[in-house]
Structures are given as C-alpha cells and as structure tokens.
C-alpha cells in the first residue's frame, strides 16, 4: 500500500536520479496486444511533459535506492555525501509505474540505482523489478535500465530480455580523469558491459533468424552519457569518443550533460556557478552533424580548433572555415551538399530535392519552403537573373567569412557565449 511516506521517498529518489540526462523513449516500435498494457511508438518517442527546466519528461526516471558504496566525485549520491537516503520496494516501484502509465503520464520506466552490498546484489533487484513488470503486470511500454558497473554477464543477459534500452555511462571521456574522480571505476568497467550488451543483441538477432519467436534483446539499443565541464577534456576529446562509440551498431545515443556543481567541497572538481549550457548545446549540434549530416569529427574540431565555437553552431563554423565549398546551387546540388548549407535542415533539403523536379526554385520559393534565408543567403545561388530580394545578395566569398560571421551572430548569442567563457576562465587556478 502506498502512503504519504511513499511520496517523500519518490521525491528523494527522483532528485537523485535527475542528473542522468537521458530520457528518450525512442527506438522500439511495439504494437499493443490484447491482455497487455501499453505499446511503444518508435521514432523519437513521446514527451509527456516538460519540467520547469524545459527538459522532456518521457519516462519515470527514478532510482531504486540512492544509497551507494562508491564515491564518484561528480555524483550527488556518493557515499561521503550527507543527503537523505531512501529505497523503494519492488512492489511500490511496479505500482507507481503502472498507475502513472495508465493515466498517460509516462511512456515507461527509466530505472537506475546506487550500488548496495555488491554490483550483483543491486543488479538482481533491478532485474526483479523489470521482470515483474513484464511478466506479472504484462507491461508493454518502454523500459530503460541502467546497468550497474561490475554486474555479471548472467544478470545483464537476463535484464536485456526485459529492457528496451540499456545504458552504461562513460561520464568522463579520458580514463585518467575518470580514475582520478571515480577511483572505483575505470574504462574497463564501462566498456565491458557495453560489449556484453552488444554481444547479446547480435546473438539475439541470430536466434531470431532461426526461431522466429525468440524474445527480443534490448531492441532499442544502448545509450551513454558524458559529463561536460567537470574535467579538462576538450570538445575534440569528447566528440572523438562519441564517434568511436557510434561505430558500435547498438549505440544509439550519446548524451552530454553540462556539469552541475553538486559537490562543491571536492577540490578535484571545478566550482561552476552555472552549468556550461551553451557548450552542451553546441556538443549536441555537433553530435547531430555526426549522426545525420555525414560530418566527420575532424571536420568539426581539429588540432587548431579543439573546442567548438560557442558563438556559432558547428555547421556554420565549418562553412565559414570552408568558403571554397560555396556557393551551392540549390537547383543542381545533391542532397549531401545541400545539407552542408547553413540554414538548411534535413526537412528543407528533402523538400528542395522534391520540389525542384517541377521547375527551378527561386529564392522566393526557398523562403516559403522554410529555408532560413537570413543564414542561407550567403551560401547559395539559384541563378536568378534579377534577385527578388531587396539588394543583391553577396556570397560568403565576396563578403569574407569574418564579415558573414559578424552579420550572423546575434548579440544575445554573443552575450551568452561571453558569459560562459568567463565562467571557464574563473576556473583556471
């Protein structure tokens, strides 16, 4: 039976779980079935609400317990912190998940836990919850399970039969930094379970080819997270790690989490008045370019530019460093080339390719289609005899990249970037 006390424990365990930024319910399409509760819609999943910080709430993101025997410096739940500790029972968690789901509050459950007694002991409890949901409750919605570092292969393979997605967080891209901050962890403890999950998925594919009804193993693949701004890693270090991870077929998403100073007393960590949100956003944009726009890491960041430009997005940044690539003729350029034009997204690139078969597109058409002409105009031509826009457009080559950059950075963006740069300067000892 749930009581007032359950409310308080749910509050504590949510506060403890919220720093894991992953929340997506993407990656599996599973239609409902008579006698089962729920379905999953695939695509990008469904966000059921947005909290005051503007983040999507898709899953019930909660910990089984926030007690932990480890002492990772960047984590609120580390054992040396004096915070309220709580645990939810298996039946409580199951009931809350089902009742939330039936009211259309959530797409499913995102469950993690602090490590108590031993990794296997903890993992066993997590598996018990997802097993109960899938079998007794016949829950057909989304389940994301965070695996416990050091848990046995046996338990991981059980968990994978019930979870849609599993995740192991890298947190810190360089092993030396990780070891400094989380003495009980190393890259092995992260990559080993990743590998096991991957193996499980691949073996399962094989099985399903032979036995059509073999249950699916982690159908929505894996995700992971890196903390940004807690250590000295450059964006190049971070993105190199991401692109390495994306070469694994089951890695679907890498999340970036701007470091929030939760443990200000720890001298190994910087004290930030505010998380580096601009940088985090630029990393997501770069990640997007890696996954959907066929950019390579070296095109986005390199030895001379190891960090992303905070004032402009990485795609514009690339374009300004490569004026020789422009202008692009929208009436003839192929899809991949169109994607490289600042102000042109996947949707407008597809629309252009579709529409130009019916006739040449003018800048007027482009505007109506939804191209951000304010940006794109410096990088395209549509070979018009007379331009319908007031004043003839001058390309990035005529104007010089530096000038285009000045024209395109809004004062607001500049201010935000400035503020954040100051933040990191304060950091330097």
């Amino acid at each position: 039976m749930l009581t007032e006390n359950t409310i308080e424990r749910l509050r504590i365990l949510t506060e403890s779980a919220k720093y894991d930024v992953s929340c997506s319910s993407s990656g599996t399409v599973r239609r409902g079935k008579p006698g089962f509760v729920g379905n999953t819609v695939g695509g990008v999943g469904i966000c059921h609400s947005f909290s005051d910080d503007g983040r999507c709430i898709s899953l019930l993101k909660v910990m089984l317990t926030n007690s932990c025997m480890y002492d990772c410096a960047y984590c609120v739940n580390r054992r040396s912190n004096d915070i309220p500790r709580a645990t939810l029972s298996v039946s409580e968690l199951v009931e809350i998940t089902m009742e939330f789901y039936r009211r259309n509050y959530i797409e499913g459950l995102f469950l993690s836990s602090g490590v108590v007694r031993s990794p296997d002991y903890t993992m066993e409890r997590l598996v018990a919850i997802v097993r109960e949901l899938r079998t007794t409750q016949r829950f057909y919605g989304y389940i994301h399970l965070k695996s416990i570092p050091g848990a046995s292969q046996e338990l991981l393979s059980q968990a994978g039969l019930y979870a849609d997605r599993m995740s192991v967080n890298i947190e810190i891209p360089k092993e030396s930094s990780l070891k400094l901050l989380a003495p009980e962890k190393d890259h092995q403890s992260v990559f080993q379970p990743m590998k096991l999950i991957q193996q499980g998925v691949l073996e399962n594919k094989e099985d399903r080819r032979r036995f059509h009804h073999a249950p699916r193993f982690v159908p929505a693949g894996q995700s992971t997270q890196m903390i940004v701004g807690a250590t000295k890693e450059t964006d190049r270090d971070i993105l190199t790690m991401s692109s390495m991870l994306y070469t694994q077929p089951t890695m679907r998403r890498v999340y970036y989490s701007g470091y929030i100073s939760v443990n200000t007393y720890d001298a190994r960590l910087p004290v930030l008045k505010q998380p580096p949100l601009v940088r985090e956003n630029r990393l997501y944009q770069a990640d997007w370019l890696l996954r959907f726009y066929q950019y390579k890491v070296e095109e986005i960041v390199d030895e001379q530019h190891p960090d992303l430009d905070l004032e402009i997005d990485p795609k514009l940044s690339w374009a300004l460093r490569h004026p020789e690539f422009f202008p692009v003729d929208v009436n003839t350029a192929d899809y991949e080339t169109l994607l490289r034009v600042p102000g042109l997204g996947v949707k407008s690139a597809v629309t252009i390719v579709n529409s130009r078969r019916f006739g040449r597109l003018t800048s007027f058409d482009l505007k109506r289609i939804g191209v951000v002409m304010k940006k794109a105009k410096y990088f395209i031509t549509c070979h018009e005899l007379s331009s319908p826009l007031p004043g003839s457009i001058r390309s990035v080559n005529e104007l010089q990249p530096e000038r285009v950059r000045q024209l395109l950075v809004s004062p607001q963006e500049r201010k935000l970037a400035e503020k954040e740069k100051q933040l990191t300067l304060d950091l330097e000892p």
Binding site: T14, R31, G32, G35, S49, D52, D53, G54, R103
Partner: protein, 263 residues
C-alpha cells in the same frame, strides 16, 4: 469571375470538384454558404452536396495520389480552418488536370496550394501528437479513465487508434469539450463516438476536465500527488528554462494537465 458556393463539408468540397469538371470550368473561388460574394462575380454556381459524386472524386484521388498525400488531405480538412478550403479545392482540381502519368504534384511545394494544404496538414499532425503527449486520465470509481481535451483542430479521430492500442484493457472516455463529442471505449471491441444530450449534467468540469471529487477512485488523488511531486523533483534548478517549457507546452494546454501548478 466564376464563384462556387458549398455547404462547408468535405463531401461538399469534393462535389464542387466534380461539378467544375462536369461544367468544364475552373472557378476562381469556392465560398462557404453565408460568406459574402465578391463584387464582380458574373457566374455563381451553388454546389449541391452529393455523396455519390464526392466518392467518385475521392476514388479518383486514390488512383492519382500516394497514401501519404491522401492522408495530408484528410488531415488538413480536420484543421477546420476556413483558409484550407480554397487551396485544398485548387489542389484537388490541379491533380485531376494533370496529364495521365505525370508526377503527382503532391511534393511540389513551390505550388502555393500544395504548400498551403501541406502546411496545414503538418499543423494538425503536430497537434495530434500533442494530444498523445498531454492527455491526462483520471480514474473514476467505476474504473473508467476520463480525459477531457479542447484542441484547436479536430484531432480526436486521429489519436483514438493510438489510445485503443495502448490502453486496450482499460475502459476510457476521451471527450472534446470544445466540439461536444468524445470516444468511449469499454475495454473491448472498438471505441464508440458519443455525445451527451444534456452536456451540463456531466460529472466533470467542462473547463478544466476535472472529475467530481466524489466520483474519483479512492487512490487517484494519491497518484496525482505522486505525479506532481515527481514533476517538481525532476527539475534541475540550475537549469531553469521556463521559456522552453512554455514553447513545448503552450499555455492553452495547461489547464487540463495534472501537473498544472495552480491545482
């Protein structure tokens, strides 16, 4: 100038297309009855809605357009926006005027009519997604789950399949308070479209969708409290971003949400 008038239904619009081809003309405007006629119209034709004719036009469209394009057309109609009428009418006429075997114009967004219809279709699709996101059920004593909505467009028919698939073992009622009808699902079979003869007597608040407290199931308040607690606790204060929140959940949807702060 040639003007047609019609009764404002989709069948009426399709009949207008039929008439235009039968009369070998292309009217400049299709007006809904009651709308003021333009000053200089010498030729006004009143379209008499005819299901048979409408059906023939629709069948013709099915031969010429992809499923996606057909879906955009029906979805755009659910927008209930007056500005969909003429672009849609022109779009359908143009489709039939194209020579046999030509590429369908459905993807030609440089055509203002196709673009307008598609845009409106996207808008409606967007709102049906919002219903999938923001519908909140309350559980009544008898076990029925109730949700009240008031969307800008008539999107309820578009989401019923989703809820039927997802919540197939519970009985529910989703009621559009703005359009005075809903779908009731008994936990079996197909959802039924329903209306209330005396809407004023329904046991829920038509403005914010709240079920009368004495009809709420005994634990519903507890789960609402749990949800509000969760909603507050999941926010990271260092990242407060109310502008993003309001962009994602426009103000008009808040009144139905369980997590609405004023409740």
């Amino acid at each position: 100038m040639t003007v047609y008038t019609f009764d404002g239904t989709l069948d009426g619009l399709m009949t207008a297309v039929f008439d235009a081809f039968e009369r070998h003309e292309q009217p400049e405007k299709l007006l809904t009855k009651g709308e003021a006629l333009p000053l200089f119209c010498d030729n006004v034709h009143e379209v008499i809605t005819n299901e048979e004719k409408a059906k023939r036009v629709w069948v013709g469209l099915e031969k010429r357009l992809t499923c996606q394009a057909l879906r955009i057309i029906s979805v755009s109609w659910l927008s209930e926006l007056p500005e969909v009428v003429n672009p849609l009418f022109n779009y359908v006429c143009k489709t039939f005027r194209q020579p046999q075997g030509a590429t369908s114009i459905a993807l030609n967004y440089a055509d203002p009519d196709v673009l307008a219809v598609t845009r409106i279709g996207w808008k409606v699709s967007h709102e049906q997604l919002r219903m999938k996101q923001f519908i909140r059920f309350q559980k009544a004593k008898d076990g029925t789950y109730l949700a009240v909505i008031g969307p800008d467009h008539n999107v309820l028919p578009l989401v019923i399949g989703h809820f039927r698939d997802r919540f197939n073992d519970q009985s529910w009622l989703i009621y559009d308070a703005k359009r005075h009808y809903g779908f009731y699902y008994e936990g079996l079979g197909m959802p039924m479209q329903i209306t209330f003869e005396n809407e004023a007597s329904v046991p829920f608040n038509l403005y914010d969708g709240k079920l009368k407290p004495d009809l709420l199931s005994s634990d519903d308040q507890l789960f609402q409290d749990l949800w509000r607690t969760y909603f507050k606790a999941i926010c990271i204060k260092e990242r407060l971003n109310p502008r993003k929140q309001i962009k994602e959940i426009p103000l008009r949807y808040w009144k139905y949400l369980t997590e609405n702060k004023k409740k």
